[in-house]
């Protein structure tokens, strides 16, 4: 075989690899993500109409969307929607909930403790770790200089 450098091959491989159909994926992500947020807005208005103060209503919206996402995951449909929606179902809070519920379901076969319990945060864990860590950094700066 004639020697091909990794760079030469990388160029060849990129050329042979079909690109993502972004003209389809980006509008779908926009549409589905937008609709999930619109649903959130509807729930927010509903909860405020029912008399919840703004802060509680906002938390209730998050919890409601998380519930719906976990329900869809448990009914085996969230992944089918996400196949088309991509970031549209990843970026909203529903994506976080799916990332918690899906490994819980998947690793049920390894038991309650080492399966569900240990694997629950395998995908979503980093979000919590780095979100909380960033908030601590901000809190410290705010305490010192705020």
């Amino acid at each position: 075989m004639k020697k091909l450098t990794k760079n030469e091959y990388s160029t060849l491989a990129d050329k042979a690899s079909p690109p993502t159909k972004s003209y389809r994926t980006i509008p779908t992500a926009f549409l589905v993500g937008g609709l999930i947020c619109t649903l959130g807005q509807g729930l927010l208005n509903l909860y405020q109409y029912l008399g919840l103060p703004e802060k509680t209503a906002s938390a209730a919206v998050s919890v409601s969307l998380i519930f719906l996402s976990v329900l869809a995951t448990g009914l085996n449909v969230y992944d089918n929607l996400a196949k088309y929606a991509g970031a549209g179902t990843l970026v909203p809070i529903t994506g976080f909930a799916n990332a918690v519920a899906s490994p819980a379901l998947e690793f049920k076969s390894e038991g309650l403790i080492l399966g569900i319990g240990a694997k629950l945060f395998t995908i979503s864990g980093p979000v919590i770790v780095y979100g909380i860590a960033a908030s601590c950094v901000y809190g410290l700066l705010y305490y010192l200089f705020g």
Partner: protein
């Protein structure tokens, strides 16, 4: 006696015979273009088991049982079985075959394992080490997803270069007889790594290994692509196939007239959502045992090359920033025992 043509190519002068074979698949495979050629298709991919690993083991056992039944042999008639799959510790094979009490050698060559196990099964016959051997491999979409990628219910999007792990198994029995198909040569590939790091582009990672093995085989045997009716690669898919043809073209070995890829045969890319094609140990194994061997037996094809390709991918090493090594092993499967032919 076997004749070594080079470090990698071995001519099997006794021409071990592939005596029986069986292919088993799941739902997607049953909806694909090769459905009618499978021995058994189960639309319930749990195969009646409680976990995906057990489902894969059950599927492999079914393929072995079917092949044994077709050859009218029982497990004690088989001297040694070579088996492999994609799961850690090869549990698809070990749990699938544990009740058979056949001397067992587990192999791992990622998706190339069917060629690897069939090489070994043929070489044991050629060397007089066994009277009858078996080769079997499997892969299961669900057990592979949970080990290598994401939970099934996770909402992810697959890249257009990604391939679909086949839920399938293929088993073949090898022995000494005068009935086609025969294994005439094997070519054992070396590991080739041209630096592909994208785990969603396995075809690109494997294509250089396939090209290297095919080029070595033609060099060692002085045969040419036109001497073959078909050259089957394992599971390069769309991307890998394009790259293979290009790499061999550069070597002065155009094979586009003979080339077909098991990953592109198993599914219909237009109507089935498999992106760049099928993959997994079960992909090339089931295509071999459903589509290729019967045709060579009937003489519809006189000579074919079966080149199963494997991406020796580990999620751990990919996370450590390593690239994905590829491997490909080749068998020359023929309707004739040679001499009169070539």
């Amino acid at each position: 006696m076997a004749k070594r043509l080079s470090r990698s190519t071995i001519r099997l002068e006794s021409c071990p015979s592939i005596q029986a074979w069986a292919a088993v698949g799941g739902k997607m495979e049953g909806e694909g273009p090769l459905a009618d050629e499978f021995d058994f298709l189960n639309p319930d991919t749990t195969f009646g088991e409680s976990t995906w690993e057990k489902a894969e083991s059950r599927m492999m056992r079914t393929a072995v049982d079917r092949a044994f039944a077709k050859a009218k042999v029982c497990p004690s008639d088989v001297d040694i079985i070579f088996a492999g799959d994609l799961l850690n510790q090869c549990v698809g094979s070990t749990y699938g075959l544990r009740e058979l009490e056949i001397p067992f050698l587990g192999l791992y060559g990622a998706c190339s394992t069917m060629a690897e196990s069939l090489c070994m099964a043929s070489l044991f016959i050629e060397g007089g080490l066994a009277e009858r051997t078996a080769a079997v491999t499997s892969s299961h979409f669900c057990s592979a997803e949970r080990q290598f990628r994401f939970p099934l219910e996770y909402g992810g999007q697959r890249a257009p270069t990604a391939q679909w792990t086949a839920t399938a198994s293929g088993a073949a029995l090898v022995g000494r007889s005068m009935a086609a198909p025969f294994v005439r040569e094997v070519c054992i590939g070396s590991i080739v790594d041209l630096g592909i790091t994208d785990a969603a582009n396995m075809g690109a990672a494997m294509a250089p290994a396939a090209a290297s093995t095919i080029a070595a085989y033609f060099h060692d045997t002085h045969l040419k692509p036109a001497d073959f009716d078909r050259i089957f690669t394992g599971d390069l898919g769309l991307v890998g196939s394009t790259l293979l043809l290009e790499l061999l073209e550069r070597e002065g070995l155009p094979i586009s007239a003979q080339h077909a890829d098991c990953g592109l045969l198993l599914y219909d890319r237009q109507s089935q959502d498999v992106h760049a094609g099928g993959s997994g140990c079960g992909c090339s194994a089931s295509v071999l045992c459903s589509h290729i061997l019967p045709r060579v037996q009937k003489g519809e094809w006189k000579d074919v090359l079966f080149v199963a390709t494997g991406a020796l991918m580990s999620p751990t090493l990919v996370q450590q920033g390593e690239s994905i090594p590829g491997i490909a092993h080749l068998l020359h499967i023929s309707n004739t025992r040679g001499k009169e032919g070539m």
